[in-house]
Symmetry: C2
Subunit: 466 residues, 2 copies
Amino acid sequence: MSVQKPSIPKGTRDFGPVQVARRNYIFGVIRRVFEKFGFAPLETPTMENLSVLTGKYGDEGDQLLFKILNSGDFAKDVTAEDLTAGAKKILPKVAEKGLRYDLTVPFARYVVMNRGQLTLPFKRYQIQPVWRADRPQRGRYREFVQCDADVVGTTSLLCEAEIVLMIDEVLSTLGLTDFTIKINHRGVLSGIYQALGGVGRESDLFVAIDKLDKIGREGVTKELLERGFPQEAVDQVFGYLEVGGSFDAKLAALRTAFKQDGVLTDAAAGPAKGLQDLAEVQQYLQDFGFEHFERLDFDVTLARGLSYYTGCIFEVKVNNVQMGSISGGGRYDNLTGAFGLPGLSGVGFSFGVDRIYDVLEELQLFPEGAVAAPLCLVANFDAEGRGTALPLLRQLRAAGLSAELYPEVSKLKKQFEYADKRGIRFMLLAGSEERAGGVVKLRDMRAGSEQTVPATEVVATLQALA
Amino acid sequence: MSVQKPSIPKGTRDFGPVQVARRNYIFGVIRRVFEKFGFAPLETPTMENLSVLTGKYGDEGDQLLFKILNSGDFAKDVTAEDLTAGAKKILPKVAEKGLRYDLTVPFARYVVMNRGQLTLPFKRYQIQPVWRADRPQRGRYREFVQCDADVVGTTSLLCEAEIVLMIDEVLSTLGLTDFTIKINHRGVLSGIYQALGGVGRESDLFVAIDKLDKIGREGVTKELLERGFPQEAVDQVFGYLEVGGSFDAKLAALRTAFKQDGVLTDAAAGPAKGLQDLAEVQQYLQDFGFEHFERLDFDVTLARGLSYYTGCIFEVKVNNVQMGSISGGGRYDNLTGAFGLPGLSGVGFSFGVDRIYDVLEELQLFPEGAVAAPLCLVANFDAEGRGTALPLLRQLRAAGLSAELYPEVSKLKKQFEYADKRGIRFMLLAGSEERAGGVVKLRDMRAGSEQTVPATEVVATLQALA
């Protein structure tokens, strides 16, 4: 075996103790809120058949799928002609499986495969990594964790209201206060493009609208004109996008504008349904006693790219940190259609844990307890000392406290350094002098202070300090 | 998009709510014990460079690695001649990465890459899935989770003693009582093969010895004779393997036998070191006040296949269930040598969660709380009822209870069925009659009983019942 300098694949990361502990803290908060709201966990395999994944994320998505080489003699069916034809021709012969690209398609696959056993509505959450062969850059990784919650099998807008409550509770629990939960509705967006005669060019319009934050009215105007929208239509768009005031005021203003533009043609669909749904979600939140309406923003410019959304859409921004959206989602009416189960409505959303991590770090919101160091290190003096140290250690652990013995009889300085570097809060010293007196010295590494405690009271003392 | 009948890759599994909850219960117990003993979490990427993985698991292991196809035009360097030469020639041109095969090699890679920053001894635990392209069969999957804990950077045998304590605590906490922690030492095994002149043929001997449980003395004799060991040597082996009595008695008998056979040549290594280490581990366990020595078995026939072990080795069997070992490990002296960092001693062990899951299921040891259903379902009557139901729901959740509202106004029968199928324990009913009286009906779905509770006391009542 030759000696090599090891490395990890680009766009991937090792997570050391502090990072894992902090990530688990975030996952724990999300998981508890999901479960409190009645969502049950699901986990799907890392590998999916390419037949399940391909064609679900657009051409670009297909490119970004990580594919698994078939086992054994993978190239046996590849011909020299295939080589000339290129990768596209060869791929189906050498790879049948790929890595999970998101949690939504595996969820849809699971629902279809288990439709006979599932109780609808089915509320599931899923916290698992996904993989994308994207070009790595700051904040964008090839392996990252998504935290999704979805309800399928009901069109009830109570689900949308509960999504707002869950987002608010997760972020509040993590210590965030200055964030905005943006909500919009595909029906409202459809009203806008119907109003300006843009039907069939929705994506042109959405792409431009989505940039309003970044390039401003002038930039969006320029882009829309370049894309061939007439000046009049552009003015009309801004009439819609710049609707202001409270949630209710916006709803009323849009209703008036849609009426004027003659697009409230079908009361049960499109723009009319959009306004009605949003009003209903707001009503539920009021009934729930939601206290943070100032965090909820009906944002007509919110478009979200994913074409499968059909109803309400969500996106969450932290206001006091420069960062993209940390959560998003929406309602979809036909997610399982591709797998032969049409007409199953659902709504879901996702937290982006990597971004939340960065936000909490920047705002210094990680609690101290989120560091995975044991509470206490017992100093290792000698064979005789171990007669006291080992039973003590066992008592501490029996009381649920995390503790370890320095494994070797080393100089105390070295043992102190170890405790210090690992972030261990307390050191327990039972040298010959202490043992003779039936006491233990307890050093608070952070405060730099020491106290002497009867050996019989160490557990209680540390429990009180933990 | 054509409609397709979706499936998952063979050897992989979806985990529904009950399974995830039960698996998380096991992971939680293991994690808490690891942390109580001072181990800190590490997570490494799913993908590793093939240069890191290849050559670490033997030829068979290399075959069983899942390889990731390079992104983009993966076949651009493959020639027609390569096709003729076959998969082995093509592989390095089309794949640079593979899926994690175990947690030990990535750990060694991490230690080497971070040697400058790590505080030694370094105690890490890691709970992550691994992938092997093995032929799937009952109890053997292509994706499964390993739970490893290792200490590197110390030769202290306190670590071995603590491994015994951790295994005992994890399994006891999970409710198991009838299990055996087998311990042996590579030095003892080396003494045996030195004694019978088998040096250089250790693996022949180990493979045969490992089968003693299954094929008995007769079978092992036959196999050893077939492999060319003389009858005399075979008799001698059984003299060693059938050493009986207490831990101490076995140590004494082996010492005598080794002396007679003249293999105690180096007091600091080999068989002498093996006996000494085992005695020291036993002493530490006594100092710790370990109460379950009846579960610890010094088993001279324990060999364990992995060639990197150099000191103590462990394996755990549940006695009252037909099942392979559920945990195992040992000390290794040169795990990081392949990555250019020789001479770093470590010791570690691993729990096999899939097997533990099956054992707990067979013995019906999963606690009820390990089912991820919300505590209570609030019935959905009508718009008016929601004025009561939604604030109630919010109070329950604010108190930390998991609860949900049935999302649609459906017949009560359907709502009851939903609660029943999901395993929801309580149903809360606040119909017009109850609302008029300021009360709520609370139905215990399991007991089939109902009680009427003042609306103001529902939270406290449920908290007491939860």
